[in-house]
């Protein structure tokens, strides 16, 4: 009797395609959480996250796209499918668009955001988590996905690059820019919660470029 929990994702995938139901269940239970959380963090909607998760594993069952071990890990492969499913839904429903870069001023910073204060200071833990969640959801999609994959799903740059179909350097630069945007948006959230006046930047030397 094979102990499926000790097998790698690739081995489980092979067994699963050979008709081993336990292999399929083991692989599903191992990978469904990160896939579901990825879809939830990208869309902010539970029903979308459920649909995406189901569709990812249905694609696996139907073998619509072949897995190539030379191109990356099974996890990266699954995230790639999940990402495509999320983007399809964004295209279809256009209900999850985030604040685009057009909202930012010439220097790349939103003029509503102010102060040098720690953007996350004085918040309770719950408020902190909610603030970060809202800020991530407000990012443009191509920045949001790198934050969700690398910072929230704790993927390596290489696996994230495989899932996104881009170079590692692209992931790094997008993540850098995305985190800069997050800092600024969290400042804005903090300011609006504290009711402080929004007068523009107080430290012109602060630079996130």
């Amino acid at each position: 009797m094979v102990n499926h929990s000790t097998l790698s994702d690739e081995e489980l995938l092979l067994l699963m395609h050979g008709g081993d139901e336990d292999a399929f269940l083991t692989l599903y239970r191992r990978r469904q959480g990160p896939i579901y959380r990825f879809a939830l963090r990208m869309s902010g909607v539970e029903s979308v996250a459920e649909d995406v998760t189901q569709e990812v594993f249905m694609t696996l069952i139907r073998r619509e796209i072949g897995f190539d071990s030379t191109r990356g890990s099974v996890a990266g492969y699954l995230f790639g499918i999940a990402r495509n499913q999320v983007l399809k839904r964004f295209e279809k429903e256009r209900g999850y668009s985030s604040i685009e870069n057009e909202d930012l001023g010439e220097d790349g910073l939103d003029e509503r955001f102010v102060t040098q204060a720690n953007p996350l200071g004085d918040l309770t833990q719950r408020e902190l988590i909610e603030s970060v969640r809202s800020a991530v959801l407000s990012l443009p999609v191509h920045y949001r996905e790198v934050v969700v994959l690398c910072d929230l799903n704790e993927m390596s740059y290489a696996d994230a690059a495989g899932a996104l179909g881009c170079a590692v350097g692209t992931v790094r630069s997008r993540l850098h820019r995305a985190r800069g945007l997050l800092v600024e948006r969290l400042r804005g959230i903090h300011q609006s919660q504290n009711g402080q006046p929004q007068n523009g930047l107080t430290d012109p030397e602060t630079c996130y470029v």
Partner: protein
């Protein structure tokens, strides 16, 4: 390190992602001497802490049980419809076409008998092979082992057998149609394209092989969908058989 260099690395520094040790030390030293960069590092660290808090808060979130139930149902339904594939088979390969495996085994037995009883004409026609899409691989050809003992040593032709398959589609047994004979009217020898008889997925992929010319009972070509007239049923037909390194037939084409 200057402010520009520091800003490029501030988030990697805050997130404690892998950095060169010397570069990290330089960055931290710069932050000690530059208030704006120190503030940027503080912001980046606060963000990192916020992101980690979000990860911890959401780590138990999973897909609901109904998703697993639906997928299990779909998996079982699929398993009923599709025969199991050997775990040694690459994921992009398809289910073997079992009836043709039996035909291929029968053909091989018949060809072995025909070898002992027939005179085999051997020619190599590389230009014809190129027209028909058969390519000769580089580097040099290795002399293969003959699959069965023969009275005359066959002339070896090394060819690469390419199976054109549409991903996701099961290739049907290719019909042999009369029109294909006239399609090769310019070539007095060749009467048809190669017809694959290698549907057994457990066979090893072919790197080199042998092309041997055989004669076989005309009635056998009916298995490939070719019409056979009653008056010519006793007349043997000449064919080229493509064998793999393992001696198992991969494809057949008919010769005038």
């Amino acid at each position: 390190m200057n402010c520009s260099g520091f800003q490029k690395n501030v988030h990697a520094l805050a997130a404690e992602r892998l950095m060169d040790a010397a570069e990290r030390a330089n960055a931290l030293r710069h932050a000690e001497n530059c208030s704006s960069c120190a503030a940027a590092l503080a912001d980046a660290r606060a963000l990192t802490a916020g992101l980690k808090s979000l990860v911890v808060a959401e780590q138990e979130i999973e897909a609901p049980a109904c998703v697993e139930n639906a997928l299990l149902l779909a998996y079982r339904k699929r398993a009923e419809q599709t025969p199991a594939v050997s775990s040694a088979v690459p994921l992009v390969r398809r289910t073997p076409f079992r009836p043709l495996v039996a035909i291929a085994a029968g053909l091989l037995l018949i060809f072995g008998v025909v070898f002992w009883r027939s005179i085999i004409a051997r020619k190599t026609t590389p230009t014809k092979d190129e027209r028909l899409g058969i390519t000769t691989p580089t580097p040099e050809v290795k002399p293969p082992n003959p699959p069965t003992p023969v009275e005359e040593k066959p002339e070896t032709v090394i060819a690469t057998h390419r199976q054109r398959r549409t991903p996701g589609a099961v290739k049907p047994a290719r019909p042999f149609v009369q029109d294909e004979i006239t399609a090769y009217a310019d070539d007095p020898q060749i009467a048809s394209d190669f017809i694959s008889i290698d549907e057994d997925q457990s066979l090893t992929p072919m790197e080199t092989g042998q092309l041997i010319r055989v004669q076989m009972p005309r009635a056998l070509i009916a298995r490939f969908g070719a019409p056979v007239s009653a008056e010519k049923a006793d007349v043997p037909v000449t064919a080229d058989l493509l064998l793999g390194e393992d001696g198992i037939a991969r494809a057949i084409r008919f010769v005038r």
